[in-house]
């Protein structure tokens, strides 16, 4: 039930912010702050509470299930395992920062702004928890539409274009996923006579080889557009650059992660043989993304676009790692999801802070800011170093594990991917040089961080250091999920993996008549 509450509190908070924001302009941000804080504390509590049992073979930690539209076999089924739990923690953490960093930035229609913000978070939470494909698709859309408004209303100059682009890309690819979901639904019904959207029931559906490939591609394209992977990445720079700070933060920190989550949760277990068949191409795409994103990042002059392209590069590592299909790489992927959320999110926050002060995102007009803002310079240094994968910070663990795992799967591609380490150094140092180093050109000094901003960035630094120095809690939490996925593709084969998974299959539900369910 707590899972429903997590979503409910966000949606409720959003509505409250919308309604109460009409009368009192300062109220919505406080409402959102407390809403997200409550959620954050709740997931932290769940993590601490569940940590001892995360070690065991894969099992859902908490789940909630009830009928939604029984005629079509649609259930309201939420459940979390280690992977979902970690991503929920990230969601609420980034969400909290998003609220705090919009504190003074948003000056109009606050109620509606925070409504959108909270509903995006609700959608993301839903995506990370839904175990019913229809419900998943529902949440997938829930996070999309408020984001469209967030970019379209509170963005900068070119916001409408960016919002449309974002919407069309994700919506079009989402529809492909819907088609695949329906395909899976009917194939499963054909095989067994049971009409169901439930993930656990659909697992292990035997699908003819070539159809499986197409269904897999449908899912994959939706997720890969979100991730994003070259050549589907071009919505990202526009959306990131035009979105308000909190929007960029949520896009980079969370929305991109839903793509990776989708691949891990749905694509690999539902379509194992097709995924394995596609793996070399996917890894190649990942490598192309790493290098292409890095080269593009190097030539950008718009700070937010630059960081957006570094995201493309980093997400290439995720793709490479996922389709390496072994434990080391998958652990690295999960780590990369968390650390990329933190480090890139931080860079976007800094871009927002710089824009508030200098009213520009053009790095050619910056330079020498260290002189007046050494504190921000030092913090920027840390995040730039994180982004180039300096050991001791979380990103290093992630990238190293991914490359280490991928090397077992495909040495040559891994060597090409390792070139990304050089390129990342080039663009990260360019950011530092252009923004903070060099001589300061303007006459008026800029203000260094205020305590609210220091708190935001310091919390991010602490988390990225923690992930770099003591990554084991994260690794342990996600271990059962990762081992489950690895088992699908290695030694024991798929049947054993499902057996070991110890899934609580819903035995209580039996088929009565085609398409209808009765709960006994």
């Amino acid at each position: 039930m707590i899972l429903v509450w997590l979503i409910g509190i966000l949606m409720g908070g959003g509505i409250a912010a919308l309604l109460l924001g009409q009368g009192n302009r300062g109220l919505p941000r406080w409402i959102s702050l407390f809403t997200v804080l409550a959620g954050f504390l709740a997931v932290i509590y769940i993590w601490i509470d569940q940590y001892p049992i995360t070690q065991f073979p894969h099992k859902w930690l908490i789940q909630y299930r009830s009928d939604w539209i029984p005629n079509f076999g649609i259930t309201f089924h939420l459940a979390i395992d280690g992977l979902s739990l970690l991503l929920l923690v990230l969601t609420f953490f980034i969400g909290l920062l998003a609220v705090v960093c919009s504190w003074t930035e948003v000056k109009e229609r606050e109620g509606f702004y925070y409504f959108n913000l909270l509903w995006i978070l609700a959608g993301i939470c839903g995506v990370f928890m839904a175990l019913d494909l229809f419900l998943f698709y529902f949440f997938w859309e829930v996070m999309l539409i408020p984001m469209y408004f967030l970019i379209g209303i509170w963005g900068s100059e070119n916001r409408v274009y960016a919002a449309y682009k974002f919407f069309i890309f994700t919506q079009a690819s989402g529809l492909l996923m819907l088609l695949s979901i329906l395909g899976l639904y009917f194939i499963h019904a054909n095989n067994t006579g049971i009409y169901t959207f439930n993930y656990l029931d659909l697992l292990g559906t035997s699908i003819p080889e070539n159809i499986q490939y197409w269904l897999m591609l449908g899912f994959l394209i939706a997720f890969v557009v979100k991730l994003p992977i070259v050549p589907f990445h071009s919505w990202l720079p526009d959306a990131h650059a035009e979105a308000p700070t909190a929007g960029s933060l949520i896009l980079a920190g969370l929305l991109l992660k839903t793509g990776a989550y989708g691949i891990l949760r749905f694509v690999l277990p539902l379509f194992p043989s097709a995924s394995e068949q596609f793996a070399p191409i996917a890894m190649l795409l990942g490598v192309v993304g790493i290098i292409y994103g890095a080269i593009l990042a190097f030539s950008q002059t718009d700070l937010k676009r630059l960081v957006a392209y570094t995201s493309v590069s980093h997400m290439g590592f995720v793709m490479l790692g996922i389709f390496a299909l072994n434990e080391l790489a998958l652990q690295g992927v999960v780590m990369q999801l968390l650390t990329h959320g933190i480090s890139t999110g931080a860079l976007f926050i800094m871009a927002g802070m710089l824009k508030e002060r200098l009213h520009t995102r053009d790095i050619d007009q910056m330079g020498g800011l260290w002189k007046h803002m050494p504190q921000m310079g030092a913090m920027g240094m840390i995040f730039a170093m994180a982004s180039l994968g300096l050991p001791g910070l979380g990103n290093f663990i992630a990238e190293f594990l991914i490359l280490l795992g991928a090397f077992e799967a495909n040495p040559w591609l891994t060597i090409c991917a390792a070139l990304g380490l050089i390129f990342s150094a080039i663009y990260s140092l360019r950011i530092l040089q252009k923004v903070f180093l060099g001589s300061y050109q303007k006459d008026t000094p800029v203000q260094d961080l205020v305590w609210r901003e220091t708190t935001i960035l310091a919390s991010l630094i602490i988390s990225i250091l923690w992930l770099g120095v003591f990554p084991q809690p994260v690794i342990n939490t996600v271990k059962p999920t990762v081992i489950f996925i690895e088992k699908i593709f290695h030694d024991q084969g798929i049947a054993q993996a499902y057996l070991d998974r110890n899934i609580i299959k819903p035995q209580v539900i039996s088929k009565q008549k085609k398409g209808t369910y009765v709960r006994k």
Partner: protein, 629 residues
Amino acid sequence: MNNLLWLIPVLPLLGFLILSLAGKSLSKTSIALIGVGSVSLSALITILIGLNFLNDPPAAGFISQTLYTWIEIGNFKPEITFLLDPLSLVFVFVITFIGALIHVYSAGFMKGDKDYSRFFASMNLFVFSMLVLVLADNLLLLYLGWEGVGLCSYLLIGFWYENPQNGYAARKAFIMTRIGDTAMAIALFMIFSWFASLQISDILLKAPQLFQQGDTTITIIALLLLAGGIGKSAQLPLQNWLPDAMAGPSPVSALIHAATMVTAGVYLIARMNVIFELAPIAQMTVAIIGAATLLIAGFSACTQYDIKRVLAYSTISQIGYMFLALGLGAWTAAIFHFMIHAFFKALLFLAAGAIIETLHHEHNMFKMGGLKNKMPVIFWTFLIGSASLAALPLISAGFYSKDPILWYAWSAEKGNMIFWAIALLGAFITAAYTCRMVIVTFWGSSKTEIGHMPGSLMTTPLLVLAFFSVVAGFIELPHNFGHFTLFSDFLHPVLPEVTMGNETWPEWIFQLMASLATFGGIYISYQLYSKNPALILRLKQSSLATALYQFWFLGWGFDRLYDILFVKPLTYLSNINKNDIVDQIYSGISFISIKLYRLLSYTQSGSLRWYAMGLLLGAIIILTIQIVT
């Protein structure tokens, strides 16, 4: 005592944390106390543990201390473990001891700088990273230190950030070493996939069982590790970042770009000696790279006029000697040369820094001159350092460390006459440029006003280092000088003995030749720069000499070459694609749909009569089709 090991790296880390978090609110005195104190305490603990190690050697041959398990995924289980064996003890000693001296010097050198705490924070972080590098018991932790020192080098080269030139030098250093680092990372992946472990002791133990001598895999691994070492140690072909790195403050050049960080490559290769012994091709490559580097860097050093760049090229050249020794299998000789080099090169850089500071930031040594009597302490210490660098026979430590390398270059199994000839030529050049530097700086007429003289904070470290630059050589004497081999005996548990092979002349002839080379170099310089300056003018008139001079001055054109080969094409590619060609495809799709929409919208003209016309035409066409068919 031994379980204080973890404090050696952690103390500087603590210093870094305090200085970076609270640096702004501390007074300069307390900043200096923390910065210098943390490293000095480390040095003290090192000496205590080292004495303990010597008096009462541990049964296993090493001390190790595990703090916690860093990552544990399946059989991938790197721990945060510090391991002290003779090899790392030598490095730790050099790092902490020379590090502490340089910190003391910096307290005086940097006292006028507004970013005092940032400087000491970065220096402490560097010492921490370097200690992690040499104390790591697994390659992942080593890699952490390895990258950490790269970061600190970047931070400190670009310390005076307001000048974009410094930022450029810093980035160049970071990126060029990063190229090597990436190769090393790939080596790590390969090692893990073959050995299923990154534990150094495991790898060294398993390697001879897994591989035959000369196997391709082990050769590739060795070459990749070598690439890592080349980047960090500024060897051919990744050497050209080091001269630019002199943009940093002089203590930084002394500590990072002479004494410690740049020798990380030497450490890595020595540490992985088993792998290199198994891969003769790779080891031969090490020797060839070392020989080539020592020669070309030596020629470049002859042409520089910036005193720090002379020293930088000479550093590259001396590390070339170490690589040569490593390639010959003369492991202990390489490490010995590393230690001696650390003493005298740190000394030279510090002294040069003091001169530059006194002469109001004048780097050009041709504008110095006549400092012999004005700065006696600096003069004498610099002279001792130079003697060591030039390997002045018998009295300088440099002689005792370089002479074995020259001897092994031919007499070792892997050596040959060419290596020896190159090394000998290198020794000649070294003596020549060293002497040139000393003459030009200290003799002749004074050309620049002398400012504030260095205080005792700066001169004391110089005196200590000068003492070691003379005395440290006597702990390892050549075979015919009584065969006193304290240093190599100490290292032999970890590093194998050099295998002798080639029948050559007796060792004393080699020593004589080396001495002659040194004196020859000194004599040539003396003739050119003191006795007979007209000769230089004559040389300057010949076009070949000036062309050669330019070529060497610019470091054999490597910068130009890389600029044309890599930098230009990459930036060009990146800039023409600034707007992302892939995005153009999507823009194309939207462009086409907009065009189509415009086209179709023409039919909706709003003119009723056109619609009627259309209706009619349509009806006629349909009717015609009906009738015809």
